[in-house]
Symmetry: C2
DNA sequence: TGCTAATAGTTAGCTATGCTAACTATGCAG
DNA sequence: CTGCATAGTTAGCATAGCTAACTATTAGCA
């Protein structure tokens, strides 16, 4: 029987757990040799498909000039392609190259492997609790429009 | 009745939930006017007490030159004090000023308020699941030495 | 004791990443 | 066709990460 926890205490523990978990998985990314902002933008393009620079900037919560420069670096390193939209020549369409897709999949696999190592020492019940908690968080965040 | 989930799926969901949760709470920090690396270092000093620059760099997982510059900015803005250690004059001791403590407490309160808003829409059972999940993650991370 | 090695920080200089302001090019409304 | 709106880029600033090289201090030991 679990005693009643205060929401305040749960909020603090949740914050700490999420903070350290992200720090733990992000450590894997350095092996790819792609800096964090570029890697994050690349993941949006690889898993979300080709899109405009504005859309990409919005998805990553940065301003267009910041994303423009991140795309510069990704193009320079051959991870994405930048093309003018034929229907609106002001707009550019960013899409992943084969190399970009390959690197992103390697990155995802590394991060998942790292997380699976962590889950490896847990019981089925504990994993089920993590699964439910993840659902709850995602659902709450989706409901809180921002 | 929950069906059997694969660990792979849980790992992906957990990663996504933690990523978006951190993005959500971090958005509160901009109101403080203290950049992210400085705010994070300040929290270590405020909640962990006075310590050397090396200890601080280690806690934040950055190199000493990086932390030296972050401390420069915090000293410039009057949030921490930098003093020479009397017992080892090579070493410096970083401690929070009253202003640093005040700002950090305000930041923590903002983040917690934000998280509590999120937890506010949940049932007691759902919060209990989040509490257990947080415990499990923290325990696993502590057990995995790195 | 006095030389040598180790340790703690800083400085210099590079890259990356965030911003705003100001600009160019294109599209749209009338 | 004129004028405003929109998409992106350029320029310039601040922050934050790194390594290499430096200074100052301490510790080890022959």
């Amino acid at each position: 029987m679990s005693r009643q926890k205060s929401s305040e205490e749960t909020a603090r523990k949740l914050h700490s757990a999420a903070l350290h978990l992200m720090r733990y998985v992000r450590a894997q990314d350095t092996a790819l040799g792609v800096p964090p902002a570029q890697l994050s933008a690349l993941s949006v393009v690889v898993f979300g498909g080709k899109q405009s620079l504005s859309d990409l900037a919005h998805a990553e919560q940065v301003r267009p000039p910041t994303m423009s420069r991140i795309v510069d670096a990704l193009v320079r390193d051959g991870l994405v392609k930048r093309e003018i939209d034929k229907r609106d020549r002001r707009s550019v369409v960013i899409s992943a190259t084969d190399k970009g897709v390959r690197i992103m999949h390697e990155g995802r696999s590394r991060r998942e492997k790292r997380l699976l190592e962590l889950l490896g020492g847990l019981t089925k019940d504990e994993i089920d609790v993590l699964d439910q908690a993840s659902e709850t968080i995602s659902k709450s965040l989706a409901a809180t429009v921002h």
